[in-house]
Amino acid sequence: MEKEVKRFPVSHVIGFLASLALTFIAAVIALKTSLSFKAIMWIIGSLAVIQAGLQLFMFMHMTEGEDGKTNIINIAYGVFVAVVVVVGSVWVLTSGHAAH
C-alpha cells in the first residue's frame, strides 16, 4: 500500500492534461471554427465520449481492486445496451415505410 502512495501519480497527471486538452479543443471547435452545426456536434460529441472514458480509467480506478473485471464487464454491457436501444430504435423507426 505505502509504495503506491509514494509513487508519483503519472497516470493522473496525464489524465488531467489530456482532459484539459480535450476540453479546450472542444471549446475552440465549437466557438472559433465555421464548420457546419452537424459537424461540430459530431466532433464535440466524440470528444466528450473519449473524455468520459479517460475519466473512468484514469481517475475512477475502474480497472483496479477486486471488482476491476466486473466493473469493465458492467460498463461494456451498459454501453452495449444503451447503443442497442438508442441506435437500434432510431434505425428501425427511420427506415422503410417509417421514413415515408
Binding site: 466486473t70 454491457y77 452495449f80 445496451v81 442497442v84 436501444v85 437500434g88 430504435s89 434505425w91 428501425v92 423507426l93 427506415s95 422503410g96 415505410h97 417509417a98 421514413a99
Partner: protein, 659 residues
C-alpha cells in the same frame, strides 16, 4: 373524479362475471373466516407476511404463480370454448378481447415469471452455499410489489373493466383515442408496480450470486441453474427499465394527454411496438433461461452423470443473453422497416438458434449412457426436448422476414410461441417443483399422480396447440372471437378445444397431487431423496431458516456429489457450530404493497388528488427505511445444535438415499 360513471364501477350484466364476483367475495370471506376460526392471524403475519427468509418468499411466489396459472388457464379455456364451434355465442367480441389480453399478461408476467423467480428464491442461495440473498428485505419488497401489481391487474375484470388491447397493448388501439375507458390504465399501472419488484429481484440476485458464494465456489463451479439465474438477472436489469419507461410514457399519454405514441400531434405509435419488444424479446429469455437451468439440474441428477459440456453451456447462456437484445424487430417485420432492417433481424434471430441448439445437444449427451431414472421431474425434462424443438424449428420459420409476412398474426404464430413457452417454461417449473418439493416441504409429491399429471398435461398440450399450426397455415387469424362455418376451420378448432380440456384435467391432477401429498405423503424421507449433485441437498428438508449450520466448502463442480463420493464435509462437530447472524423480519414490504396498491388503484381511475395523498405513504416508507438501523439478530449455538440434531443421524452424517 368525473372519468367514470359510478354505475360502471362494478362490471354488471354478464352472468360469467357475476359468478366470478360472487366466488371472489365468498373466497375472501372464507379466507378471513378460516384465519380467524383457526386463530392463525398472528401466525400468518409473523411467519409469512413479514418474513424475509428467501425460502418462504420463494414459496409465496410459487403459491401466487399457481393461483395465477389457474386464473390464466380459465381465460384460456373460455377462449377455447368460444372458438370450439363456428359462430359460438358464449362470449361477446369485447369480452373475448379482454380475455385474450388478460390471459397473455397473466401467464407471462404473473405466472411464468413469479414461478421461476420463486424457484430461484428457494434454490439459488442454497446452491451457492449462502444463508440468504444479499438484500433480504428488498427481496420481500420485490415479492410484495409483484403481488400488489398482480392483484391490481386481477381486480380489473370485476371493477372498472379489463384491458382489451392485447398483451402487447399496441398503440394507437391502446391509446385514449380508441380505448377511452379506464380499462387499459390497469395494464400500464399494474405492470409498472410489478415491474419495480422484478427489477429489484434482478439486482438482488446479481449481487447475491457475485458476492455471497461460499468458500471455493468459483464462477465456473456454480451449478447451471445458478448460472442461468445470474445471466437472467443481467437481462432483467438491462431490459426492464425499457419497459418501465415505455409504460410511463403510456401512462402520460393515457392519463395526462401527452402524445408520445398517438397518431396525431407528432406522436409515433410504432415507437411503442419498438420499445415494447425491446423489452419483450429479452423477456422471453428471462423466462426461458432459468427454465433451461432447471432442466440442466434435473437431467444431470436423473441421468446420474455430470452435465455434459458445462463450459459450452455457460457460454451458450451468455451468448443467448447478448443476442436476445438484438432480435426484437422480428416481432413486427410487417411494420415495414424495409429490407435492410428486416434482413438484419432475420439473421440475428436465426443466429440465436445456434446457442440454443448447443444446449439441446448438451442435454442429449448428458443423458447418453447415463442411468436414466424416469421420475416425474425427469419426464417433464424428457418431454421438453422434442416439443421445444418443434417450437424452435417453427421459430426459425418465423424468423425469415419475407416468410413471416405469411404467418404474421395467424394462429401459426400462436401455436409457435405456445410450443416454446409451455415446454420451455411450464414443463420446467413442473420439473423444478417435483424436483425441489421435498427440499421445500420435507415430503415428496406423489409420483403416481405426478405421472397422471404429466401424461394428461402433455397429451392435452399437443392436442390443443398442434392443430393451431395448421389452422394458422390455412389462414385462421389470432385474436378473432369467431369464424364462419364456410371457412372449414371447425374440425381443427374443435380438436383444439378438446385438447384444452385434457390439458385442464392435467392441471387438476397437479392441484390434487399437492393436496394429496400435503395430507398423506411420507414425512420420513432423506434430505437427499434423489441422490442429487448440488449443495441445496447438503442440508435438511425442509431447510432450517439459517440454511447451513456450517457453510460448506466447495472443491469442484457438482460439489455435493463430490462431498458424498469422498465422504468429506458432511459431518458437523459441536465445536464447529458458531452463532449465526440473520436478518430480522419486517412488516414494511407488506405496507408498501398495500400503499402501492391503493395509489395504483386511484391512478387507474384517474383520481389524481387521492392518488397524490396516498403516494405520500410511499415517500414516508422510503424515509422510514432509510433510518431503519435494525441489524438483525444472532441465533445462539444451543438452538443450532438442537435443530441440527433433529435431522442428522448420530454420527452427524447425511441420511442415506431412501429409494
Amino acid at each position: 373524479m368525473g372519468n367514470i360513471k359510478w354505475d360502471e364501477f362494478f362490471i354488471t350484466g354478464d352472468p360469467l362475471i357475476l359468478g366470478a364476483q360472487v366466488s371472489i367475495a365468498l373466497t375472501m370471506l372464507g379466507v378471513l373466516f378460516g384465519l380467524t376460526y383457526l386463530k392463525k392471524w398472528k401466525w400468518i403475519w409473523r411467519e409469512w407476511i413479514t418474513t424475509v427468509d428467501h425460502k418462504r418468499i420463494g414459496i409465496m411466489y410459487i403459491i401466487a404463480a399457481i393461483l395465477m396459472f389457474f386464473r390464466g388457464g380459465i381465460d384460456g379455456l373460455l377462449m377455447k370454448a368460444q372458438t370450439s364451434r363456428p359462430e359460438m355465442g358464449l362470449l361477446s367480441s369485447q369480452h373475448y378481447n379482454e380475455i385474450f389480453t388478460t390471459h397473455g399478461v397473466i401467464m407471462i408476467l404473473f405466472m411464468a415469471m413469479p414461478f421461476l423467480i420463486g424457484l430461484m428464491n428457494v434454490v439459488i442461495p442454497l446452491q451457492i452455499g449462502a444463508r440468504d440473498v444479499a438484500f433480504p428485505q428488498l427481496n420481500a419488497l420485490s415479492f410484495w410489489l409483484f403481488f400488489s401489481g398482480a392483484m391490481l391487474f386481477n381486480i380489473s375484470f370485476v371493477i372498472g373493466g379489463s384491458p382489451d388491447a392485447g398483451w402487447t397493448s399496441y398503440f394507437p388501439l391502446a391509446g385514449k383515442e380508441f380505448s377511452p375507458s379506464i380499462a387499459n390504465n390497469y395494464y400500464a399501472i399494474a405492470l409498472q408496480i410489478a415491474g419495480i419488484g422484478t427489477l429489484m429481484t434482478g439486482i438482488n440476485f446479481i449481487v447475491t450470486i457475485l458476492k455471497m458464494r461460499t468458500k471455493g465456489m468459483t464462477l465456473m463451479r456454480m451449478p447451471m441453474f445458478t448460472w442461468t439465474a445470474l445471466v437472467t438477472s443481467g437481462i432483467i436489469v438491462a431490459a426492464f427499465p425499457i419497459f418501465t419507461v415505455a409504460l410511463a410514457l403510456m401512462k402520460f399519454d393515457r392519463l395526462f394527454g401527452t402524445h408520445f405514441f398517438t397518431v396525431s400531434s407528432g406522436g409515433s405509435d410504432m415507437l411503442w411496438a419498438n420499445l415494447f419488444w425491446l423489452w419483450g424479446h429479452p423477456e422471453v429469455y428471462i423466462v426461458a433461461l432459468p427454465a433451461f437451468g432447471i432442466f440442466s439440474e434435473v437431467i444431470a441428477t436423473f441421468s446420474r452423470k455430470q452435465l455434459f459440456g458445462y463450459k459450452s453451456m455457460v457460454y451458450a447462456t451468455v451468448g443467448i443473453a447478448l443476442l436476445s437484445m438484438v432480435v426484437w424487430v422480428h416481432h413486427f417485420y410487417t411494420m415495414g422497416s424495409g429490407p435492410g432492417v428486416n434482413s438484419f433481424f432475420s439473421l440475428t434471430t436465426m443466429l440465436i438458434a445456434v446457442p440454443t441448439g448447443i444446449k439441446i445437444f448438451n442435454w442429449l449427451f448428458t443423458m447418453r449412457k447415463g442411468r436414466i431414472k424416469l421420475s416425474s421431474a425427469m419426464l417433464w425434462a424428457l418431454a421438453f426436448i422434442p416439443t421445444f424443438t418443434i417450437g424452435g424449428v417453427t421459430g426459425v420459420m418465423l424468423a425469415m422476414g419475407a416468410a413471416d409476412f405469411q404467418y404474421h398474426n395467424t394462429l401459426f404464430l400462436v401455436a409457435h410461441f405456445h410450443y416454446v413457452l409451455i415446454p420451455g417454461v411450464v414443463f420446467a417449473v413442473f420439473a423444478g417443483l417435483y424436483y425441489w418439493w421435498p427440499k421445500m416441504f420435507g415430503h415428496m409429491l406423489n409420483e403416481r399422480l405426478g405421472k397422471w399429471h404429466f401424461w394428461l398435461f402433455n397429451i392435452g398440450f399437443n392436442v390443443t396447440f398442434m392443430p393451431m399450426f395448421f389452422l394458422g397455415l390455412n389462414g385462421a387469424v389470432r385474436r378473432s372471437y369467431t369464424y364462419s362455418a364456410e371457412s372449414g376451420f371447425a374440425p381443427l378448432f374443435l380438436l383444439s378445444a378438446i385438447g384444452s380440456v385434457i390439458l385442464a384435467a392435467g392441471f387438476a391432477v397437479f392441484c390434487y397431487n399437492i393436496y394429496w401429498s400435503i395430507r398423506y405423503a411420507d414425512r420420513n424421507i432423506s434430505s437427499d431423496p434423489w441422490d442429487a449433485r448440488t449443495l441445496e441437498w447438503a442440508t435438511a428438508s425442509p431447510v432450517q431458516h439459517y440454511n447451513f449450520a456450517k457453510l460448506p466448502e466447495v472443491k469442484s463442480f457438482d460439489a455435493f456429489w463430490q462431498m458424498k463420493k469422498n465422504n468429506e464435509g458432511l459431518t458437523l462437530k459441536d465445536s464447529e457450530i458458531e452463532e449465526i447472524h440473520m436478518p430480522s423480519n419486517s412488516g414494511q414490504p407488506f405496507m408498501m404493497c398495500v400503499i402501492f396498491g391503493v395509489v395504483g388503484f386511484f391512478l387507474v381511475f384517474e383520481w389524481f388528488i387521492p392518488a397524490a395523498i396516498a403516494s405520500v405513504g410511499i415517500i414516508v416508507g422510503l424515509i422510514y427505511r432509510s433510518f431503519d438501523y435494525n441489524d438483525g439478530y444472532h441465533i445462539p449455538v444451543e438452538e443450532i445444535s438442537k435443530t441440527e440434531s433433529t435431522w442428522r443421524n448420530e454420527k452427524g452424517e447425511v441420511h442415506k438415499h431412501v429409494g
